[in-house]
């Protein structure tokens, strides 16, 4: 088990280094000029040249990457070209806002997905299975942007029950887990939960439907085990795969949804990325991508560590 953990940890190092390289170079491949973030569109050539020097953009890219990596390894992601604010603080603020949104969306999506998937798998071929499968297909296929707008029009504009946008009456800095703030969370979380719900429903359904037909389940039933006891065995067999899929889905949610966060003006990582992309704010873009990628890597590492605990066969290599 220890060897397995060490191996997994070692695998993350080249991945993390690769992530830094990709997140640094990728943004330079996009057309456009990072100085557009600070210079007006009609800035003359001498202003642009002076800015290039001021922001170190006149140096060769390998030099810039080296300097950036050295700073990043010390936790310094530089400052936003557009605002001058520290990228680390910008990203961490946005990550905490997305964490609020993603945790609720993930909890809702995973819970409903597991329940629907289990019901469908246990009753494969029944109307319940068809209903759950239809819901999961809708969940996976429905455009986020459209769903968010429809929910807003119904619950905010027509019924006036919930706020249309924002992260609380005083902004995300004053976030509290109380009823007043949760009202702001409901619509974006519901919108965001639909895709993981759909994917997890399909995954769980397939796993459960396959497992219940295996010989060991027939044997368990033959020995007179009740439905709950049999379900416990089925669930344990399905759990490693569900964990892996859940890990990926939570990773995607942590990346924030540019569309959902923009529709609801939720100040998370998706909203931050949207701003950074359109402004060509390269340090902010690089910092955000890096942190999100590392989050993803860490989450997968966590899943890799947890999986052998629920399924000892995996730890044996």
């Amino acid at each position: 088990m220890l060897l397995y953990l060490l191996k997994r940890l070692l695998y993350t190092l080249p991945i993390a280094l690769g992530v830094t390289l990709v997140s640094f170079t990728l943004v330079y491949l996009a057309p456009g000029d990072p100085l557009n973030a600070i210079a007006p569109a009609d800035a003359p050539a001498d202003v642009i040249e002076a800015l290039k020097v001021a922001y170190g953009l006149d140096r060769p890219m390998p030099v810039r990457y080296g300097l950036w990596l050295a700073r990043a390894m010390h936790g310094d992601l530089g400052a936003s070209i557009a605002t001058g604010r520290s990228v680390a603080s910008e990203v961490m603020g946005a990550v905490s806002n997305t964490l609020v949104l993603a945790s609720v969306a993930a909890a809702v999506g995973v819970f409903i997905g597991c329940v629907l998937g289990a019901l469908a798998g246990y009753n494969a071929g029944s109307w319940l299975d068809r209903l759950a499968s239809a819901l999961s297909v809708v969940g996976v296929s429905i455009p986020h942007y459209w769903l968010g707008l429809v929910l807003t029009i119904v619950f905010s504009v027509k019924l006036g029950w919930l706020p249309a946008m924002g992260a609380g009456p005083g902004g995300s800095g004053e976030w509290l887990w109380d009823a007043e703030h949760l009202r702001y969370l409901l619509l974006p979380a519901a919108t965001l939960s639909v895709i993981p719900m759909g994917i997890i429903t399909r995954t769980v359904r397939a796993l459960v439907a396959e497992t219940v037909n295996q010989e060991f389940v027939v044997a368990l039933r033959a020995r007179g085990l009740g439905r709950v006891a049999v379900f416990r065995h089925v669930a344990r067999n399905a759990l490693p795969t569900v964990l892996a899929v859940t890990g990926l889905q939570v990773g995607y949610l942590m990346g924030g949804s540019i569309l959902v966060e923009t529709v609801f003006a939720w100040p998370g990582t998706g909203f931050l990325l949207n701003t950074a992309i359109f402004q060509r704010d390269i340090p902010l873009l690089q910092g955000t991508i890096l942190v999100l990628c590392l989050f993803f890597v860490a989450l997968n590492l966590l899943v890799d560590i947890v999986q052998p605990l629920v399924d000892p066969r995996m730890g044996r290599g």
Partner: protein, 536 residues
Amino acid sequence: MFSVMKLVKHGLIAAPLALALAGGLHAETVARYGISMADIPLTTGQPDRGAGAYQFTGHTIYDPLIAWEANIGTRPGKLVPGLATEWKVDAKDTKVWRFTLRKGVKFHDGSEFAADAVVWNLDKVLNDKSPQFDAKQSAQVRPRIPSIASYKKLDDHTVEITTKDTDALFPYQLPWFLIGSPAQWEKLGRDWAKVAMQPSGTGPFKLDKLVPRERADLVKNTAYWDKTRLAKTDRIVLIPIPDAVTRANALLNGQVDIIETPPPDVLPQLKASGFKLVQNVTPHVWPYHFSTQPGSPWTDVRVRKAVNLAIDRDAIVKLLGGQAVAAKGQLDPTSPWFGKPAFDIKYDLPAARALMAQAGFTKANPLKAKIIIAQGGTGQMLSLPMNEYIQQSLAEIDIQVEFEVVELENLYLHWRSGAKADMNAGKGISAINLGYVTADPFYALTRFAYGRYIAPNGVNWGGYDNPKVNDAIDKIRASFDTKVQDKLLAYVHEQMVDDALMLWVVHDTNPHAMSPKVKQFVQAQHWFQDLTTIGM
């Protein structure tokens, strides 16, 4: 049970009680303003995010030496005294300007405004050796004050600025240059990041709270020096909501009281629900800027005139929900610089076809052109539908248009480089579609028409070089009589229209939608708006 009790306690008792207390004790009037930007513009002194940002964190917190009259909507504004009560050019050396500064003005931090502050602020953006130099602020304002060569303090209340050449239009550059407090910068450890959170100007509002990308609270400066411009609302909360539909939903839902640029589709619903729609003539034009360089398909003035006659602008205005006016030139006809162009821009398809035939183009021999456009973005209005409409309209006069669609940020690169650059001419691009601000003589006319500003030396993108126009602009720069200036500017505009320098389509009207709770708002005929006029 505990959590239910907690919710009841927090949600049902505490919140209303707090609201009642707050309302009863302060009776503060608040206007919540949904702005179209993704972030609050820079608050350190020189806002980023273009001309439209000055109304939010520029002319609210700060004042310029010379201001723009933005609290009137029935006519175009004009230059008015700001922190300078008077400005004069030296009769012997017309490059030297002297500014008499307003006495008794204090910054929000309590420090005194005087000549040292003006010089300090000029150093902040023009002198990269000064300790207070800020590259970000400098980048914003340097292109807007290109004439300044040097400056000095004459006494505590007089400052002298010398321009590079004689430039009678120089005062128009100064509403862009805002004055912040040197004392506040010192107090905050010479740290611009801290100044951004606690800025100090002399303006009609103070920044009370800033949450990046979420809100900025501006509170009324009760000690403002111009008593005619005291804010009518105690607090204005700026809330960035970049998505237009979300902004409209927030207004309909009551989360905000006023929004910029409501989407055309939502206008009927807003009107039916009792919301007010305010718009006005705005210095903006949505054109195709032609290349007149050799090899361009637009070198023949008959072709340029034909395309101007081939567009049904009223249909485009309808597409935009009425939030635009049909263009008759670079400027709106109400502008003092519109003049009397001989070429009347209107929808006249037979005349357009006749001009194309004269120029030698027919269905069998169509004119082919590649035009670079943005997929959307600030100032681009409904870029793709409008461009597709124009593409279809031009097909009716035997012009086959191909679009190169890029992001707005990328389009700026193509624009700055000029039509002759390899990234344009080399790729067959012969026109560019970019929304232009036309707020003053430089922005509206001279930067596009003067031969000296042919890109990359300026943004005369297509290389227009008309000796008569160049001569008129030289005279404008040397003339200190406003009437003569206006007459010459009108002449320049007439020439631009008669030469059909661009395909002018529509002018934006900078629409705002507001709830019935907003009782007063004056929309100026400018990108600079005066938020002190908002009354609840």
